[in-house]
Amino acid sequence: MSGIDQSKIRNFCIIAHIDHGKSTLADRIIEKTGLLTSREMQDQVLDNMDLERERGITIKAQAVRIIYKAKDGEEYIFNLIDTPGHVDFNYEVSRSLAACDGAILVVDAAQGIEAQTLANVYLALDHDLDVFPVINKIDLPSADPERVVSEIEDIIGIEAQDAPRISAKTGLNVEDVLEQIVKKVPAPGGSADHPLQALIFDSLYDSYKGVIAFCRIMEGTVKVGTTIRMMATGAVADVVEVGYFGAGQFIPCDGLSAGMVGYITASLKNVRDTQVGDTVTDADNPCSEPLPGYKKVNPMVFCGMYPADGAKYPDLRDALEKLQLNDAALQFEPETSVALGFGFRCGFLGLLHLEIIQERLEREYNLDLVTTAPGVIYKVHKTNGEVLELTNPSNMPDPSEIDYMEEPVVNAEIMVTSEFIGPIMDLCQERRGTYVSMEYMEETRALIKYILPLNEIIYDFFDALKSRSRGYASFDYEMRGYARSELVKLDILINREEVDALSFIVHAGTAYERGRKMCEKLKEEIPRHLFEIPIQAAIGSKIIARETVKAMRKDVLAKCYGGDITRKRKLLEKQKEGKKRMRQIGNVEIPQKAFMSVLKLDDK
């Protein structure tokens, strides 16, 4: 077949804390190896979606093959796999790492190690990757590479003296990185003659090619015509095309064998058939066991999504179906709300995932959405022994039927400079955190560990963390499990009618505070009517907070001068247009943005 020397392949990824320069380094590597001239380079080649470029985060894993002529005179094939950079996509990150043999750790020469750096390094070491550090941004005036080198050695415990000191932005010393990839990343193992065993580290849906599975071949060979089987999902299909990744394009080839990274297309119509982490094998000559580490990804955060214009319900369904083709972690099912009409209860990996989907629906599909407060999966243990998994507050049973409830909790790690330890611990305390430990990584920085309820971190925890540490704290978490908790359903009554879309589940201890803030916020958002409107927060039949929107006494247009009716008409039309964006609850009209505004209740 292609006659590629397995010992000349290097499969690696770049890991870094957000903003430490991962994507910029990837760009420079691609540019230096001549795959693209700098004129052809668009900044951050690997982040394809507008959203990724804008937010500076990687959402989907990407890969690219580049040829590098090393100083030893040999040509090497580099497969650079770009991993997603957010805790919501932790599982995807772990599968991308499993496809690599080594990892470049990029650390900002000014900021040093951050919480995500640590989490990512440990994840890489867990996958037996050879990790070598690179100190980036040495061109910054505040750069202190020597301090960062000792930080890396002290905290992570890996050799860093010969770490290349680079500036990915200017391209300074990037050649050193390329040479170290050759020297420090091991060549892949495996044999082309063994039964096929390939790891899916991502997949996407293309309207022409169908599902495209991104694979690392661990053992064996795959060619066009091979009948493949996905060992976890059981899907079977004939391979239509195999190939590798050019810069932003798919380049077909004859076959892929052990050690190689590339893609497979088969007659598959849904990314659900090619789950990330699944093992692809030859249906006629299967390998004995799947690769370790596969798990089905379950959504952790749920919310209701409704079209602002009820007539757009089918459009929303189509859009969600299309997004799901590319995003196996997105779940949705139809739901109905008295207040908001027909919509979907959607499940996401985390809040970022939720925001991304919401933005894509609005931007790429032109939908105007009303979103309800995000929540998690609560376990309701009923007195009759039944256990209910609750994702929609409306389905909460009557308190008399509930024995006790549990909520998901996470292990959180926060890295912060010592001056902000106090405020950050206060924050964790307010968010019902349980203190675990604190250790000083060096004199001025500490790693604080807390157990936190997931529902306390899904709205605005990250913002609060940043504001209380002037941006210096970094944060990472992983699921820990479920813990028993005193939870109540908080209802909002507008003009004495319960508004289902505004109900949410909250810890009993913070219910009063939340109820009060909700009422205040809604008072600002609900326009005055001809009558007085009470806004109340209630737990069961008990009212815990109240605000009042006063009755409108007067609404008269200005003097109409010189017969300029057009201006008058415009004013009236504006008023009517405003009404259109309202939801009618009883005889009260509530603007759609009121439903969203309660999601952001300022925390100090």
């Binding site: 005055r528 409108m552 003097k559 009404k579």
Partner: protein, 396 residues
């Protein structure tokens, strides 16, 4: 038979812009005023040529401050009207004036030109309030002008008043109303102050106004309750003296209702002349340019072209839906409201068929009432008329 037409003539000049004013008006030197009068007379002659089929039932010279023009400039304008248009014998001819700008010479000239009605912008009888509004005159100056006009025989005078002014209390308003009633003008307009964007008042009171709109207590402007009280007081005091509230903000002794104003609410055809003026003819809405330079160069709407092919001339031909909407939201401003029969006569379909649901809804809320085939705003409905009118816009 000639069809009826009203004329609105705009004079975009004043001595000094009032602090609350967002109308198209500015101070200007003598040369500019004279060039404008020239250009306006030209426009009048030109447009009159396309109006052979109309007879003019009302002329309103508004502004700005029309009375800041020299007598001969006004003469030039109104003579052009007399020469070009067919004016009915009994036509109402109003000139808007500002106290402090009227002289015996000007008033005599207006009379000679056929003006039979004056509309004087007094706004308040309290000099402190006048100063705060940025008005150029005192109450005393107003009195002088008013008496002069009466002496010269003007038998139909309107006085414009404003309430809900910053710092104004209900007693202040009562005082203004009392002083004006002593003079027994035939017509009184009483508008509540609207804080308009782009005015110095907006800078000063915009935030206060928004606060009030949210139902909170304003700092400078009267509270909503007070404002409603002022409106009620005006109505009570004026009705006691024999004035009838024939439109939301307009009061008149019987037979002295302003025909020109009623024309707007009843959707009569009217032709705007002068800078930025708006017109409605044969259900076509169009406006002159608001750019003074362009206007002086003859860049006003070409009436012939507008009437022939409105779309090409930048005019809007109202469709049936828009006509019905305007019929309602303008007609309902009148105390008599709209006549179901008139609706059917105009549109060939029943009011009930088009607006039955809206009428019933507002009637349930006691904002509209019905009697003798008419639908009209109730006292409660007047206060929130904007809300009611918006309910008469139809789905596209």
């Amino acid at each position: 038979m000639r069809r009826p037409l009203e004329l609105y003539i705009h004079i975009p000049f004043c001595e000094r812009k009032c602090l609350y004013c967002d109308f198209l008006s500015m101070p200007a030197g003598a040369g500019l005023r004279s060039r404008y009068a020239e250009a306006l007379a030209g426009e009048i002659r030109r447009k009159a040529k396309s109006c052979g089929g109309y007879e003019v039932s009302a002329v309103f010279v508004g502004g700005g401050t029309p009375s800041c023009l020299e007598a001969e400039q006004m003469a030039k304008i109104l003579e052009a009207v007399r020469e070009g248009f067919f004016i009915r014998e009994d036509a109402e001819v109003t000139i808007e004036c500002n106290p402090g700008t009227l002289t015996e010479e000007k008033l005599a000239c207006y009379q000679r030109l056929g003006a039979n009605r004056l509309s004087i912008g007094l706004q308040s009888a309290k000099d402190g309030e006048l100063r705060r509004l940025g008005r150029i005159h005192t109450f005393r100056q107003f009195l002088g002008n008013y008496r002069l006009a009466r002496e010269l025989g003007f038998g139909n005078i309107n006085v414009d008043l404003m309430f809900a002014l910053p710092g104004q209390g209900i007693a202040d308003w009562e005082e203004t109303l009392g002083k004006v009633l002593e003079l027994k003008p035939e017509h009184i307009s009483a508008y509540s102050l609207i804080v308009e964007e782009g005015t110095p008042f907006y800078e000063a009171y915009g935030e206060d106004d928004r606060k009030r709109a949210r139902g909170e207590k304003p700092e400078f402007l009267p509270e909503e309750e007070t404002e409603c009280g002022m409106y009620a007081l005006a109505r009570e005091m004026l009705e006691k003296e024999g004035y009838r509230r024939y439109e939301i903000s307009n009061y008149a002794k019987p037979g002295f209702e302003c025909r020109h104003n009623i024309g707007y609410w009843r959707r009569a055809s009217y032709l705007g002349l002068g800078l930025g003026s708006a017109s409605l003819m044969e259900n076509i809405r169009f406006s002159n340019t608001s750019d003074l330079g362009a206007y002086l160069g003859g860049g006003y709407a070409d009436l012939e072209k507008v009437l022939e092919s409105p779309e090409c001339a930048g005019a809007v031909r109202l469709d049936k839906k828009e006509q019905m909407e305007e019929f309602m939201f303008l007609g309902l401003r009148m105390a008599d409201g709209v006549l179901a029969e008139a609706f059917r006569a105009e549109f060939g379909v029943g009011l009930e068929e088009v607006y039955g649901a809206a009428v019933r809804k507002f009637a349930r809320q006691k904002l509209l009432a019905q009697a003798e085939g008419r639908v009209f705003l109730t006292e409660k409905g007047v206060a929130v008329s904007n809300y009611v009118f918006a309910g008469f816009l139809l789905e596209a």
